[in-house]
Amino acid sequence: MTNRSALSRLAYLALVLLVLLFLAVPILIIVPMSFSDSRFLAFPPPGYSLRWYEAFFGNADWLDAARTSLTVALLATLLATPAGFMAAYAMHHSRLRAMKWLRTMLLLPLMVPIIIVAIGVFFVYARIGLVATLPGLVVAHAMLGLPYVVIAVSAGLAGFDATQEMVARSLGMNRLRSVLTVTLPQIRPSVVSGAVFAFISSLDETIVSLFIAGGDNQTLTKRMFTTLRDEIDPTIAAISVMLTATSFLLVLVVIGLQRKKA
């Protein structure tokens, strides 16, 4: 009895470790690849150097693309967070039947296959001349980030005791102030985590950007995609390492904030 359970326990742990390894290995090898001194993607790298990081920082086009990506991500998040918050608040408090449809509609960007989202947005933008523009990218990424904000804020509102807000309002505060001063601080971790998810998803977004970014407004991901088509070189690995590190740090911030709440 004990032997069997010990053996099965061991097998189970081994399986978990193997799966975690499976998840980790490609990420792990990208790091040494980014320090490779070979012109081609190779693992293990024949030698080490910082040339690909230098190639990135020394290249105006890459830096422009990075700037574009960061700007778009920031603006898209700034757009998606209040819009998503308001929508989540409305859906939480309203009894209108329309809200059910709204809930489904706001989740659509996550449900519809991204290629269809991409060609749809591309088609609209091509007609109104928003292709290869910054506002175009910002709005599209904001749309893609909305579900994350809505989901996170909805979860936060669900766990929030709304009587507090009601009390503040019955004491004479108008709705806006009561939301800002009572509700928002208490569900801040949810809002922040939704915003962070929206930000990261914008940074990593590849397919829609492939269709609608261009010219002066290339995102990092689109440039990576087109560069990989043209010249498969380890600059991509260097950029990826930096992007992952950025996302990772942001998540740590979120966790830190959540810890503070608890």
């Binding site: 799966v19 975690l20 929508a87 960007p109 766990g159 590849t206």
Partner: protein
């Protein structure tokens, strides 16, 4: 945590107030709704219209999809890969989610971290990493040959297998996270009660834990399956040009042939499948629990 039911404002509930409240709520939801409406719903409606158009109303795009062999093959291949990936993701992801849910805080963060970090590495780069690992002169083959397990390199990439490995890698977190979220909520006391009533660990697992984790299983499988249906970059890079999935057909029709009619028709069929799945699941589970399970 139960939310309080929405209560009317402190003044006497009157129809005027209720209507003002409704209008306020609609106004609050308007910006978000407008963006999604204009950039997603409208284009999809246009795609739908476009799929019936080729100089005039026509069913030829759909006829081609349902009569030409290659479309059937493409959908069949896509479904086959999606089903296989979903099952594998479930089999491999469940133990990991279980471990994460039951481990003490510090280890839990490590496991979740390992699951999330690949999540935020560019899909492109991950696909290329797998290419480097799996190719004939890659580390995996070299290792297997060095260990004497094989004589000549195995074709691990540039085919369906490579596509599945890459896809599995990318979608595994989408299985593990919903599973974990649901498992985390299963009260430990229930399991204790089960075993204190005489059930063996296996029995408790099968009759208590597993059913309670079902919403997470459904959510995870749905997300993985639907995402896999729409996968584009991974089959493109790891499939060797031979593994053609539906989204690649859509993109090629747009990019290469600029045939919006054909692209739209394929998109509509794909969307119909996706919506059918969500509608089916929606009968058993609220949509939001699927996309963001709690």
């Amino acid at each position: 945590m139960q939310a309080c039911a929405p209560t009317p404002p402190p003044a006497t509930p009157s129809r005027r107030h209720a209507r003002r409240e409704d209008r306020l709520m609609l106004a609050l939801a308007a910006p978000a709704a407008l963006v999604v409406l204009l950039l997603l719903v409208l284009p999809m409606a246009w795609l739908f219209a476009q799929s019936f158009y080729d100089g005039g109303f026509t069913l030829q795009h759909y006829r081609r999809i349902f009569t030409e062999r290659i479309y059937f093959d493409t959908f069949a291949l896509t479904f086959r890969i999606s089903v296989a990936t979903t099952l594998l993701a479930l089999l491999l992801g469940y133990p990991v989610a279980y471990a994460a849910a039951r481990l003490p805080q510090r280890w839990r963060l490590v496991v979740l971290g390992l699951v999330l970090v690949p999540f935020w590495t560019s899909v492109l780069v991950r696909a290329y990493a797998w290419l480097i690992l799996l190719q004939r002169t890659g580390v995996v083959n070299k290792g297997l040959q060095a260990a004497g397990l094989i004589d000549s390199p195995l074709p691990l990439v540039h085919n369906e297998l490579g596509t599945m490995i890459g896809t599995l890698h990318i979608l595994l977190p989408f299985m593990i996270l919903p599973l974990y979220a649901t498992m985390q909520k299963i009260p430990h006391d229930l399991l204790m009660a089960g075993s204190s009533l005489g059930g063996s660990p296996a029995h408790v697992f099968r009759r208590v834990f597993l059913p309670l984790s079902l919403p997470g299983i459904v959510a995870g499988c749905t997300m993985v399956f639907v995402l896999c249906l729409g996968f584009y970059i991974t089959p493109e890079l790891l499939g060797g040009g031979k593994t053609i999935m539906v989204s690649m057909v859509v993109s090629r029709n747009v990019e290469l042939y600029n045939q919006w009619g054909a692209a739209s028709a394929v998109s509509v069929v794909l969307l119909a499948c996706v919506f059918a799945i969500f509608a089916l699941i929606g009968r058993f589970l609220p949509l939001e629990r699927v996309v963001a399970p709690r």
